[in-house]
Amino acid sequence: MLRRIFLPSILIILGYGFFISPDFKEISAGVAIFLFGMLTLEEGFKAFSGGTLEKILEKSTDKLHKSIGFGFVATAIMQSSSLVSVLTISFIGAGLIGLTQGIGIIFGANIGTTTGAWLMAGFGLKVKISAYAMPMLVFGVILIFQKAKALKGLGYILAGLGFLFLGIHYMKDGFEAFKETIDLASFAVDGFKGLMIFIGIGVLATVVMQSSHATIVLILAALSVGQITYENALALTIGANIGTTVTAVIGSLSSNIDGKRLAGAHFIFNVITAVVAVIFMDQIISLVAGISDSIGIASDNHTLRLAVFDSFFKIMGVIMFIPFVDKLVNFLQTAIKPGKKKEEEFEGVKYLNDSVLELPATSMAALARETKHLYDNAFEIITHGLNLKRSNIISTMPLDNVIADSYSKNIVDIDDFYLHKIKGLYGEIIDFSAKAQSYMTQEDIQELYKLKLANRDIVEAVKDTKHLQKNLIKYSNSTNEHIKTQYDSIKRNLADLLRNISYITNTKEEDMILLSLSKAKLHAEQYDIVANGTVDNLIRNGLITNEMATSLMNDSSYAYDIHVNLIAMAEIIFIDSDSDLKSLSEDMVMNDEDIDLILKEKDA
């Protein structure tokens, strides 16, 4: 309801404003061009965010001070804390970083936004900035039309900066012309009342423009021509800092639980900092004056003094919060909890959400993690379907003991498991992949295709387990020792495979990963009892009935398929992207020829 009224009201007010004042029109156009510049700049940086993103993040956010530094540098370069907040939410959503690291980045981003105020106050208001804007726009737009991703990205960045500069120029010109008709400074309000009113205006302006950066630039433009008083400008800056949290809150709505917690942290941090600033306003103004005097800023240079205030106020907030980060994380974890699931509900995705969709690097990382999640579920179903215990598989217990220790006396309902833990999850992964693909390059799409194959392999393995289960239970308890031995052997071999994969998931030793994968491949061929003549032998000697032989042939084929599917899946998802094996796996992993060679050597 509110949303339905909000947009038309804003449009009507703006339309009326344009009708009565051409200068207001110029200021608004300046804001609009500035905001468009920010959008274009964001688009440009997104083009460069793929590929090495994970590595940079891993190295630059492992400690709190590094996360703060990363947030600061990223915001100073991209000139948008909103973009950094939304990116951080998507990194958290994809599981690339944790909540503490995310909070560090947000702290840093808050300080990083002050660079915008310094640039505007120190450079933007002093030189004819539009002279720089024009060539940037021309070169930028030419580059945008190029096919190469890097050139396109560079084009967006140049055009974005051009629009930012042009927007600032219009805002500045508009306020100068506006001064001749209406003196906004006459509406200045002193004291606590003024402080609260202008904080409110700052919040509102930032919520409408969805950018504290744009609000601060607007404040500086108005302050430079004396359209607002210095004290009211300080209040507006505090308001802008509160209003910016709305962007993060909106961004987090489509995120996972940690994304929501991060938005909560952003909100708490900015509001408490603002409250402290309001309480100690007089002292802060004196301190800012002292700092400004000591670095040689003239007492009438209000724009640069506002930049000092902005920096002081934000750095103060971060210093104030650093000792309480762990407590803040604990609080958020207890205050914002995931919704309770109904018993009937299907298990949903953990990492896939719209917040990670736009960046190929985050969507790919989220998909890889979700595929591992699907495998974890499949591991549970396959193990229980074979009537084995998961804890035994991942232990060092001899395999004969593993198959002797049954999971349950009753048959586990694989269909029910499949419905609750695989089908829905798999569907969501495929659906998300289709959506993510539209943001990806051809190279990324090929990588994505491999992940989709890995998912299909997992689902096929679960389905094969279902087919295998009935006879496996039946013949494991058979009085015919020969058939029982064969089914126990199928069980043991699958347990061996699951153990090998479990080992691969838990080690970073590349040689051991290679050895385990090779062993699994070799065993899959060795255990193929149709190929190695075991079934023929049993039939020829009349040791099993025809019915048993048919079942055994079918089931050994299912078991072989489970081996092949799970090995193919492991090769895709369990080789770490940082590991040396990633670039070498295709050349180093054993192929059919190698397997034949080893098998022949064994037979010899």
């Binding site: 070799l522 190698d594 080893i598 064994k602």
Partner: protein, 93 residues
């Protein structure tokens, strides 16, 4: 000159392709080192103390590792011979 050609010539002059190859060479060397030290450990394993099944497993692991080392060395040789060809070509120019 088209943009593609321009990018390729920049890549060539900065040696970016060779940078990629050098990375692969480093990776394979590191992997070979690990495989060789694993083989040494397995070779030293006191075979007399092992039962029949364990002996079979050890033999299998050794066979796999020996094969992986051979594969790795072959890849490394190929990369090295490509390098020699390129440097000869450059000298010829």
């Amino acid at each position: 000159m088209s943009i593609k050609k321009f990018i390729n010539s920049v890549k060539e002059s900065l040696g970016l392709d060779e940078f990629e190859k050098a990375g692969k060479k480093k990776s394979i060397k590191r992997l070979l080192e690990k495989l060789k030290s694993r083989k040494k450990i397995l070779d030293k394993e006191p075979k007399k103390k092992l039962d029949k099944k364990e002996k079979k497993e050890l033999k299998e692991e050794l066979a796999i590792i020996t094969l992986q080392i051979k594969k790795g060395e072959k890849i490394l040789d190929e990369l090295n011979s490509e390098d020699t060809k390129i440097s000869k070509k450059k000298k010829g120019k």
